[in-house]
Structures are given as structure tokens and as C-alpha cells.
Amino acid sequence: MPRAIGIDLGTTHSLVAHVDERNRPRVIAVDGGSPLLPSAVHYGADGSVEVGWSARRRAPERPVDTVLSVKRLMGRGPADLRPEDRGIYRFDEAGPVVKLVVAEGRRSVTPVEVSAEILRVLRRRAGEALDGPPGGAVITVPAYFDDAQRQATRDAGRLAGLEVLRLLNEPTAAAVAYGLDQRSQGLFAVYDLGGGTFDVSILRLEGGVFEVLATGGDTHLGGDDFDRAVAEVLLARGLEPAGARPGPALLRGAVAAARELREALTAREEAEVDAPLAEGRRLRARLGRAELEELIRPLVERTTAPCLRALADAGVGEGRRVDGVVLVGGATRTPLVKRHVRALFGQEPLCDLDPDTVVALGAALQADALDRGGREDLLLLDVIPLSLGVEMMGGVVEKIVQRNSTIPASATQQFTTYADGQTGMVVHVVQGERELARDCRSLARFTLRGIPPLPAGLARVEIRYAVDADGILQVSAREVHTGVEQSIQVKPTYGLSEEEVERMLIESIEHAAEDVSERFLREWRVEADRMLASLESGLRLDGELLSPAEREPIAQRMAGLRQAVAGDDHLAIKAWMDSLDAASREFAERRMNEHVARALAGHRLEELAGEAAPRPVPPKEG
């Protein structure tokens, strides 16, 4: 019988585990006997894809084509990228979704596709270890992941051919592994500092029910940041020959050296690095543990506020203590982090289980339970990490589902129109705790149309938010008098559309079958020619809709596509088509609007005018 698996899709490494015949969770060896698969994917110019240690080894020499820490890019839009995330990669900036240009410029891939490569390897290894393809999977995500990041993770699972039974929060998974192992009862905190993310969850364990009371975190804080801070100092101190701004390959090497040094300092008071780097340079430096701690202290201290808030949200006020603190994530091996946790929670943290594998083990236990239709001694009640709201007139956020609500959850609220005769209402869905929509994460925006034209404040629109057991949101809006209704699975602004996921699924199959490449070459050449012809005529007719600066990226990509069509690399044609498609989307929309406007000139302008953000109906629905 196919067995369900649990996957820890981590920033620096990923693991897969299952529950054996004797009901014990076990990690599966994936990469040369180790259960840890580095979350590294290398794209070769020849179309090859390598995952794991072999990819990581290529990172220093081929930094741009080797994607590390892709988790930091999941569910993010181009505007969300922080300089440290951008790192050394080349990005295809044209579309709304972040894309990395790899394989020496021949392919552009989304973070979802990169993650799917990692998941595919885990699925394959699990299949080999279990003598058959896995039956279903639980994939863990940081508790603090927002809706877009969760959806991206679920899409990656699908793309890798996994049946994703559930997304599970990492600290909750760790608590499951711990709680079932130790038969614990009481109030527990899980402090999870991984490669790139920090989570804290407060849970109540009672009679096999793991009830998350509150969660907090930071999706941009982890061991990676420690390494970057250390690497900077090492480069300043021991780069030979010094001078000249280090290039991407050199930075990669320095970060890798910093990581080894930091790990060495877990057990020692002083350590040194002497490593050859790219560009014929060398890194030679010593670092003491005290110096290391000074460097990373500000980062470690950033975990304090989320912990205190989670404790307060869980109702663990001053003077009360949790019964235990569990450490998860490789970065919690750092002595400074352990001391920090001890001081913060007033007790010695538990670390009996390996902080690297505990999340995967918990995911396997949950996968097994789901697969069996539940287990008497295990039920997880998790929460939504960030409030979900809607933007009101004036840009203020009205929260609809509060953070730390147990999921699945739902809430409805009524709103009214702002202007006389308003027939449309823009529903801008946001996630976060800040008061203003522009400070929150924008998840989706849609317009409810067909509101009967009434004086301001008379129409009633009911907005319902429903969050499922994976923490993913669905929004529906309904005009109360007429029953006009719109429902959308919130497809995040920066996410992939259903069609894109379908296309990628097909493509991933295409990529596996090299022998059909000839067919695609023919088909895509035809498609590319059609695309070029249509754009050429569009630019001739409506070129004035674009400024010269806006026209430039389109022209560039058209030239690139023409060149690709002349060659015989079908993947290159496809990549250029995708890129051109994204770059010209705005133009296509403007053309569409222009034509609609011309067609409607003089007609029913009031229909087009009345669209504004919602306004609350006083009194608030309880």
C-alpha cells in the first residue's frame, strides 16, 4: 500500500520522512546516505538539472545558475525582494511573478518550479526507500508564512507530482514529534530558527490534542543572515589580495566559508578559515566565539519581540511560565541562541530530538494520521498567523479574521457604498497587523460589480472570508438586496494562476521527455512567429500607448525571440516567449482598455465611474 510521507522543505536543506511498520517516524536517506538534501538546484546550459550536494558544490563556480535558499523567494513579487534575497541572481522582472534567469540565460524559472525540483528528488528517494510511489504528502511551512507563500508551496508540491494532503506549520510539526515522543501535557513554546525563517508557537497539549494558541515570527530571519554578517567581516579582514569589489562567485564562497566557521564555533572558542575563492583569490581569517556573538546578537535579539507577543496573545502573561521550550532548526545549535532562549523563557530549553530532523518526523506522523483517517491520540488545531482584512476608503484596514484564530475559520462583515449610484466595489484583500493597507501584504484585488445604483450608504455588501485547514483563504462578496455574488479563491497578486500551474505541469512532463523536443521546436516556432506578428501589428496600430522607455523592453525581447526562433533550442524559444508575453501584458491591457473606451464613448459613463473601496456599515456585525 502506498505510504504517506512528511516533507520538511527547508531554506538550506530539505528532508523526507515516513512512519514505519512499527509506527515510528523515520527520516529517509536521500543524498549519499544523509537525510539532509541541500535545498540547492543547479540549471546547466545543456538543460540538465541537479539537486542537492552536487548542485551546492557548483554554487561557487556557477552562482547565477545555482539557486540556493529559494524558500525566501516563494510567494514574493518583484517589489518584495530585499537586496539580500536578490543576492547574485538574475531576475526576469517583466511579469508579476518573480522569475530567475538560469542555465546561462536560456531558461527562466519561478521559485515554485525550483522548489518542485527539490520535492521531486525527495519524492523519488522516498519511492525507492518505500518500494513504491508515496501515497500522499504533508509539506511543512513556517507558521508565519502568509497566504501567498502557502499557495506557492502547495503549487510546488502539485508540480512535483505529489498529492499534498496538508500544509503543516513547522513548529506544530516539531511539537507533534516531541509531544508524541514524550507523552507531554501542558503549555509549550516552540522556538524554531531555521536557515531563513524564524517561528515561535505557543501550544497547549492535552489528551492528544495539540492546540496552537498563538504564533509569531519573521519570514526573513535565520542562519543565512548569520552567515552573511560573518562573511562580510571575513571579507573585510582576510581577502587576499584585498581590494576590488568581490563578484557573486566570490561572495558565495565567502558565505559558505562563514557557515563552516560558524558551525565550528558551536563547539570551539576560536576557529579559522583558509579557503580558495573564485577569481583566484583566497580567504584567510580567524574568528573568536565572542566576536561571532557580537556579530549575530542584533539578529538573535530580533526574535524577542515575536516571542513576547506570542506569549501575550496566548494569555501567558507576566509571572506565568510555559511548561517547556522546544528548540527547532539548525541555527538553534548556536550557543548564543540557546542562552537567549533560556533568558527569554526562564528555563532550560529542550533539545533531546535532533533540531534538523524533528520537523520532518512530525510531518510524517501527521501524514500517516491523515492517511489513516485520523489517530485517536493526535489532533492538531492550528491557527492563522496574520490577520486577514480588507482595505477601506482612505486606505485603512478593517480586520475580518483576527490572527491566531483557530483554522478552519470564517467571518463575514457588511460594508456599504461610498458614493451615490456606486455600482462596483473594489475588494482589496490584505494580510498583516498594520493599520494601513499599504503596510500590509496585498493578497488579491477584485471588483464586485452589479450593485444596484442607490444613494450612498444604502447598498449592503457582505464580504465573507473563509480560511481552510491549510491556512489558505477564500473570499466571497455578495450584495445583500440583489444576491449578486462573486467568489474567488484568492489567487495572490504575486502567485501563479491555475493555468500557469497547469502549463508548468505539462512542461515538466515535456522536459522529462527529451525525444519530443523536436515536436516542441516546431510547434513553438509557429507559436512564436504568431506572437511576433501580432505584436508587430499591435505596435504599428497602437504604439502611441507606450512611452519609448516602455517600448524598449518589449522590443528587446522581440529581438531575443527572433534570434531564438532562428536557433534550434526549443527551451530558449519558450523562455523568450514567456518573457515577451509578460513584458507585453501591460500593453495588451492598455490596448484592450483603449478599444473598450472607444466603443463605449458617450455611453453609460456612470457605470464605469462608480467603483470605490468599501465603507463599513455601522453598527458592525458582531
Binding site: 500522499g136 496538508r166 490534542v209 489532533l379 480586520k399 483576527q402 483557530t406 475559520a409 470564517s410
Partner: protein
């Protein structure tokens, strides 16, 4: 009502069919109290509420239905959502009070507090005091305002409990409760602002 799966007779509020065990659709008219099997009143035993919530979760949660037919998965999601929504309202004393008012058809009274001129003036004065404390960078004055608001909140809770304990809950009493709730909402927000952070999620008078 007939079970959708085996057509046996099922009570409209039964979660499962006695004959075939299939999960049943929720009854939209069922209120939060009866859903959790608690008496419909303000005073409740928190431990009992939690026990019932856990027991029901064990039976209804989507995790029990991950491998079930799509229809059962959907029904479990609907039932678990309702259960969680009910639990969230009932475990919080203020939300519970607001919900009782709504069940009594007195939710329109909830805005009543704002119409009370004395309360309006008090609000303005307190807001001004907070703005002043902030403007002057006087953290102590801010914390004092927060502590006072918290003290009022504690008193309001007792008063609301006492009002709900009365035999007859006439319109006048309900209006009285609504006024106190409006004040409590204001005090909660004031305290949170004065303490300088966002209100604790569970405590805010949300939807």
C-alpha cells in the same frame, strides 16, 4: 431530514448519521451555544467549554476526512469552521456578551453607547489625555491611562456578568449591557493604544 448518504432519518442537528456514520451538513439555524452543547447564558464553565470543543474537534476536524469522499471533506470543513467560529466567540467574555445581545435581537442597541453624550465627552477627554501624554513623551502618564482603562474593563466585566444574571432580561437591561459593552470596547482600544502595541488579537472586539 434524510441522510444524504443512506437516506435514513437524521435529526437536523446530528453531526453524524446513526445508521451509516456519514457526516451531515450543518444546520444554519443552530446557534453557537447549542452547537457546543452549552446552556445559552453568559456565565459558563471555561473548562467544560474547552472539553466539549476538543471532543467535537476530534470528530469533525478535516484531518479526520483527508481520505474521505469530496462531499464528506466539504461537510467536515463546514462543520469544523462553524465549531471554531463558535468557540472563538464563546470563550471570550466580551464577544460572548455581544453574541447574546444579538441572539436577543438587541444588537442594534450596541451602538447605543455612542449616543450617550456623557460617554462621548468622557471619550474625548480620555483621547485628549492620551494624545497629550504622547505629545509630551510622558510614558508614565500613558501607562497610567492604560492601567485605569484596564481597571474599568475589569469592573465592566463584573457588572455585565451581574446584569446577565438577572432573572428578567428586558429591553432596558439589554440596553444597559450594550452601553457597557460599548464602553468596554472603547477602553480596550484605549488601553492597547496607550500600551503602545496592537491589541491582543483575541481580546479585540472583532467581527
Amino acid at each position: 431530514m434524510d441522510c444524504w448518504s443512506c437516506q435514513s432519518e437524521v435529526g437536523s442537528r446530528e453531526a453524524f448519521c446513526a445508521a451509516c456514520g456519514a457526516i451531515q451538513p450543518p444546520d444554519p439555524s443552530e446557534d453557537h451555544f447549542s452547537l457546543l452543547g452549552m446552556p445559552r447564558r453568559y456565565a459558563l464553565d471555561p473548562a467544560e467549554l474547552e472539553r466539549r470543543f476538543r471532543d467535537l474537534s476530534r470528530r469533525l476536524h478535516p484531518d479526520r476526512f483527508a481520505r474521505a469522499a469530496p462531499r464528506e471533506r466539504r461537510l467536515s470543513l463546514e462543520r469544523a469552521t462553524r465549531l471554531n467560529d463558535a468557540h472563538r466567540v464563546l470563550r471570550d467574555s466580551r464577544r460572548r456578551a455581544e453574541y447574546l445581545l444579538r441572539l436577543a435581537g438587541a444588537d442594534a442597541l450596541a451602538g447605543g453607547g455612542a449616543a450617550d453624550p456623557a460617554f462621548l465627552e468622557e471619550q474625548l477627554a480620555l483621547r485628549e489625555a492620551l494624545a497629550e501624554a504622547r505629545g509630551a513623551g510622558d510614558g508614565e502618564a500613558g501607562l497610567r491611562l492604560a492601567a485605569e482603562a484596564r481597571a474599568r474593563l475589569g469592573r465592566a466585566e463584573q457588572e455585565i456578568a451581574a446584569l446577565f444574571a438577572e432573572q428578567e432580561l428586558g429591553r432596558e437591561r439589554l440596553a444597559e449591557i450594550a452601553r457597557r459593552l460599548a464602553r468596554a470596547r472603547f477602553d480596550e482600544q484605549l488601553a492597547a493604544e496607550a500600551e503602545g502595541g496592537p491589541a491582543p488579537a483575541g481580546a479585540r472586539g472583532g467581527p
